[in-house]
Symmetry: C2
Subunit: 562 residues, 2 copies
Amino acid sequence: MTNTSASSADAITPSVNHARTILAAVQALLASSLSAVKASLGGDISGDRLDRYQVVNYELAMLKAEIFAGESILDYAERCAAGELHADFELSLACCSVADGLVKARARFEKIKYATDLDDQDIAAAFSSPLARGFLRQYLDPDVVANVGREAIARGGFGQSKLAEDKEIIASSFARFSDDIVAPLAEKIHRADLTVPEEILAPLRDMGCFGLSIPERFGGTSPNSGEDHLAMVVVTQELSRASLAAAGSLITRPEIMGKAIYHGGTDEQREKWLPKIAAGEPLCGIAVTEPDAGSDVAAMRFKATPCAGGWKLNGSKTWSTFAGKSGILLVLARTSPDLSLGHKGLSLFIVEKPSTQDKEFTFNQTEGGTLTGAAIPTIGYRGMHSFTLFFDDWFVPDECLIGGEEAQGKGFYLTMKAFAGGRLQTAARADGLMRAAFEETIRYALERRVFGQALSEYQLTLAKIAQMAWSLRACHEMTYRVAKLMDDGIGQIEASLVKLFACRAAESTTREAVQIHGGMGYSEETPVSRYYVDARVLSIFEGAEETLALKVVAKELLRTAT
Amino acid sequence: MTNTSASSADAITPSVNHARTILAAVQALLASSLSAVKASLGGDISGDRLDRYQVVNYELAMLKAEIFAGESILDYAERCAAGELHADFELSLACCSVADGLVKARARFEKIKYATDLDDQDIAAAFSSPLARGFLRQYLDPDVVANVGREAIARGGFGQSKLAEDKEIIASSFARFSDDIVAPLAEKIHRADLTVPEEILAPLRDMGCFGLSIPERFGGTSPNSGEDHLAMVVVTQELSRASLAAAGSLITRPEIMGKAIYHGGTDEQREKWLPKIAAGEPLCGIAVTEPDAGSDVAAMRFKATPCAGGWKLNGSKTWSTFAGKSGILLVLARTSPDLSLGHKGLSLFIVEKPSTQDKEFTFNQTEGGTLTGAAIPTIGYRGMHSFTLFFDDWFVPDECLIGGEEAQGKGFYLTMKAFAGGRLQTAARADGLMRAAFEETIRYALERRVFGQALSEYQLTLAKIAQMAWSLRACHEMTYRVAKLMDDGIGQIEASLVKLFACRAAESTTREAVQIHGGMGYSEETPVSRYYVDARVLSIFEGAEETLALKVVAKELLRTAT
């Protein structure tokens, strides 16, 4: 580090340190609120009692996600300051982001303070201390915020990601593919509701896209020594930029299915299936959700009944994305007839089926089973199609029960573990979609003139663009951080936090992208209209927002609260 | 009034009075912020200088809209208390609405307080006084809020509108039409992007739907003695419930065109055109927006050049909704070649054209002119189609210049006046859409079971439903109030305020409606998915949110600030 960069780091440190001090006070308010809730519950955080605090717990979970975002973007600014001659933009981006987040956080506390016994003095001490006031005065200043937007436009970006070289290489090769191959097809796939074509799938197979989370020894690209979630994240971001459903989401299913087999399968299952999944032959689908259960996986009724040489599957699944084109499905089924076992009666199967482009299909087995599927028409997220499936005595051989006989009843835990990767991957999808909206908005704002000047020169537009830029940076940094945690075998809660944050950020970013485009943003001929409808799925799938906030995050925060 | 109802009113008065006292303090903070901005500008609120305060002014305009909403719903609760034995639900609905609005308002002030020199003490005095704390403690209580949701579900509604009998009759007759005729067609029109069929148009003609804002003596249903905006509002609400674009929006164009001709036309023009418009023969369209001008009407370049016996029109218009099916267009054109005249060089024309169902058309005149149109594909708001139009030497006779020779150059003012009614009507459209989403959500939440009980029993769902209910009630009351103001010839700013509030409320209501539906909400087979994409147009058209907030509302607030 040279002297100059040290002095730049010195100059940056005060603001970042101030921000950290304020965030620590906010974290303390959160901790105190959690303690109050736990105390009101007499320490009993089992389902029914917890439900009496849903409104409060939702806010607490979102606060946790926002604090995580703030910490992540501050780390980023500090790393930039340590390594660069000039990191003024990164500093402003991070501090404006934290300032904006503080206003929102305060509103959440103002909403729940009576229910969680927070004193006005404590809130004021966190948000209106002289330190906080000085920080907020500086970074809520509309001119400072607008300047972040102006710099973001000038740089065409939201700071540098500073990935390791191998990740930069992966990112740039998928970025090129995204721009050259996917982007030109994306609008047509969306508007005509087509299935992802082989033009996209074939090169992605060659590029190893389906084996990102599978170790090299099983034909994937993850190191044998451990996992590499970051590669999965950067590829997802680059592909989702061009199309959420026809590119970025192709990774979700091999991610989940690969994890389930890798962590839960027998050696034979790993050796048989992981190389195939990594090669994208067959493509895979996930059939977990039931029509009457939604995010309530433990309530499912889909049955697997033992029969000679295997199992017969009976029941319905829904929102099974890519179930037509896929050749194998990961199916969660109740293997114990004892319903009172709840989620302890569930097991996971690898189910083979023919691949089809059709939106409706019926397959008959020689064993007598039938599998019927029908795609659900959706407002966005088009390209893979999400199916409702009906299994009627569909036979699967014994070898398809993941983990074999002794893994019976462990399907739910394995699913949850595999889904954590899916949540991180979904956050990366949200991030890629936001980036597309951000870049398209900059392009339009520079070009479009209204009331005598370019849209990009108006303070309100600049402030919106600044907000997009720092949301993106926060999402980037959070996904990178969670990827690292998950490589270390932890980070399950953080995967939910980044999903909560990124999906909402993608909704508001695409909303503003449409707004800045005005009428053109509402036209199907402009890509932001697609980003808008695509973004709406994010808070619904891969763990609905409410389920993640209440059943995963708040529950865990309360469990560890003192 | 009986003793019992008097005692109920007495019991209600304290909370409502407290809410009013707190709102008055918020209004004072707003006034003080406006004064600070005006002082910083040295009193000069002309365009360029004002633009330096866009971020702040946007918040101030939205605050004004939210205060207006709060006052309106409190008036409602008070009227209910005065007239009814039990108005507990209405009281809670109104007070919870105000409490929720206060949290949001405080966040807006926290965001702008440094830029507008607000003291923390003043903010605390407004929002954390003992009175405010008592009120907020009561009405932010999640159980109280959830109970509002529970009551809304039990009543299947959001309070009673208490309209005069003639309006109730109109509302119920259009409600029946909406349910019986429009609702069964709405999904198909949306998904197949059809044009509103005669099945809907013909009976609406008979019901007088196109003459709601036209006086009886010209064939409409407004009283000769004055205007009747309330009828227009209630009909719009009922029709928009079934379909925004295939029903509720049919009223927007005759509303605007009728107003322009009634207020600006010559006697001959009124007598010739108003009866036709009222009869819905021909249907009308509005061609004001230009591709390069958007909400910046004064910057338009579309030309009308004098020629023998009339004018030749040249240029492009865009987002001209219903321009295919309509037989007359209201066209704003530059009649003076002197561009420096800005909006003072514009005039309004009634332009006849053939009606067509086609999404693309070219019409040739015997005089040699050509009019070409192409529908813009949109993500929602389908049924009328919004066209881009190209006029090439399109001839209009002299008699089609609204107001005749002497009205040349007055087109902009007349357009703005006519558009105020369009804004109120748009707020009513937003309201109808919200109501549809609200009712569908209640239906679904009662039926859908998750984690062992109906969705409608969860606190977080109930809180969301409560929020929908009070947003709807606030919109209803605001539209009624603005209708009355406009009958009295005032209310132009209030029309913008209700549009700002209602369009955002419709966005968030439909967002939550989709969320509560989970995956089903994202399916095109469920109506809430349509409500969601339809709602997104509201903040864009009939005056984009930013334009209304900054150029109409904030400007006027600053003009009158002391």
